[in-house]
């Protein structure tokens, strides 16, 4: 599992991927990840913030030839308050709804100024993607603007104090669903992106950073809007000790509640840990995931049983329909 290959050159900047050049993937391991950090420590993210992991590793995949667009979100705060920036990349803070539109604008300027080989990447939270940001994102998909949109999904408006968002799961207690829990299902944003028939859609988890790294690299080789959805557990928001952030993230995947997949030109395949689940045909009980987080404290056994049935049905589909793929991504 651990590749002890030569690590020389790892401190050099990754060259930017050029559009149209298919990324010849070799399985990325911890030791082949670029060592250079593109985000400074001492930032304002909570202790144990899984976004911290996703962002740190994600930036390694993007490289320095990148401009980031960030709406109001935890990332705004992580990236730093004026005049100190924790991020080493050029970054544009924008209003809540306009991440995708701003990305379009950056691209237009770069094209007008004939500046090439610069990645434009939006990093929005679930609120800024699935709720207030959805309109602009949809417009950009339809226009085919050439940027990567990353949604980090901590399943709520965490930056403003844990209010529910479109992607908050059913039954979760939040600051504004404090007694009855959320009554609606989690909005499936990757499915919405797939319906736009964009060239690349992927789901990732902060608990599987190598899978995330590979998918970002791969996404950058496609045209038009690319979409990556990252499940990012939030210790204060979800109600668990910070040290379990990765464990909780893994449980989401290992119970089958959250799938790691990529969709290339509408063809879906599971990757990494989810692919392994499909091959082994065995999921951990969803109860393990719910019991690990205080926000699901009011879920009844009956409700948990309902969710288990949903997951089972969904995975029956995967077990029966999907074939193994030749390509592999790292877990």
């Amino acid at each position: 599992m651990h590749n002890r290959s030569d690590r020389s050159g790892q401190t050099q900047m990754d060259r930017p991927e050029t559009i149209g050049e298919r990324y010849m993937h070799t399985k990325t391991t911890i030791l082949t990840l670029p060592e250079e950090e593109l985000v400074h420590p001492g930032n304002r993210a909570c202790a144990g913030c899984a976004l911290g992991i996703a962002y740190r590793i994600g930036l390694k995949a993007l490289g320095k030839n990148t401009i980031i667009v960030v709406p109001p979100s935890c990332l705004t705060v992580l990236q730093g308050l004026y005049p100190i920036a924790a991020t080493k990349l050029p970054s544009l803070n924008v209003t809540f709804a306009s991440t995708a539109a701003a990305a379009t604008g950056l691209l237009a300027a770069l094209k007008a100024l004939n500046k090439k080989d610069i990645n434009v990447v939006g990093w929005a939270g679930d609120g800024g993607t699935s709720d207030i940001g959805l309109q602009a994102l949809s417009g950009a998909c339809e226009r085919g603007d050439n940027f990567l949109f990353i949604c980090y999904d901590n399943e709520g408006y965490m930056n403003t104090g844990v209010q529910r968002s479109g992607t908050t799961p059913l039954g979760a207690l939040t600051a504004n669903t404090p007694i009855k829990g959320k009554l609606q299902n989690k909005k499936d944003v990757p499915a919405i992106m797939r319906a736009h028939r964009i060239s690349y859609v992927a789901t990732c988890s902060a608990a599987y950073p190598l899978d995330l790294y590979d998918k970002i690299k791969k996404a950058l080789t496609y045209e038009g809007v690319k979409y990556i959805h990252i499940h990012t557990p939030c210790p204060p928001g979800w109600g668990f000790e910070p040290r379990y952030a990765v464990k909780v993230g893994k449980l989401a995947v290992e119970t089958g509640l959250y799938e790691l997949y990529e969709v290339i030109n509408t063809h879906l395949r599971l990757t990494g840990a989810s692919k392994k689940l499909m091959e082994k045909r065995k999921l951990l009980p969803v109860k393990d995931y719910f019991k690990a987080q205080n926000r699901f404290a009011i879920l009844t056994d009956a409700q948990i049983e309902e969710q288990q049935k949903d997951v089972n049905a969904r995975w029956e589909y995967y077990f029966d329909i999907l074939d193994d793929s030749d390509e592999e991504t790292a877990d």
């Binding site: 690590r7 060592e35 202790a47 992991i53 005049p83 100190i84």
Partner: protein, 100 residues
């Protein structure tokens, strides 16, 4: 407007410590036992799960890995994810002398 443009807008330059020395957030501090740590034992770069999963990037790929206590927030993810349980979370208050 020339060079003073930066003073007229919210224009931030990158550097550490936007939230100050976040090491002060800690109640518990991660301590690596080099004898149990895989790279520590083998004397060659390997494993580095702690480096991978640190949300703040305060662990560097040393032999054994080195933790920047000025900024480590003490979240404990490294201790939780270490495959050989080489990292222990120790009470800050129990330490007599602070590392610098």
């Amino acid at each position: 407007m020339g060079d003073d443009y930066r003073w007229r807008t919210s224009h931030s330059k990158s550097g550490p410590g936007d939230a100050g020395k976040t090491g002060s957030w800690r109640i518990l501090r991660p301590v690596i036992d080099p004898a149990t740590c895989i790279p520590g034992k083998r004397g060659t770069p390997s494993c580095y799960m702690c480096w991978l999963y640190c949300p703040d990037g305060v662990i560097s790929q040393g032999i054994p890995p080195k933790i920047d206590y000025e900024y480590c927030k003490g979240c404990g993810i490294c201790a939780e994810e270490c495959p050989t349980k080489a990292i222990t979370m120790v009470e800050e208050s129990s330490l007599i002398k602070e590392d610098t």
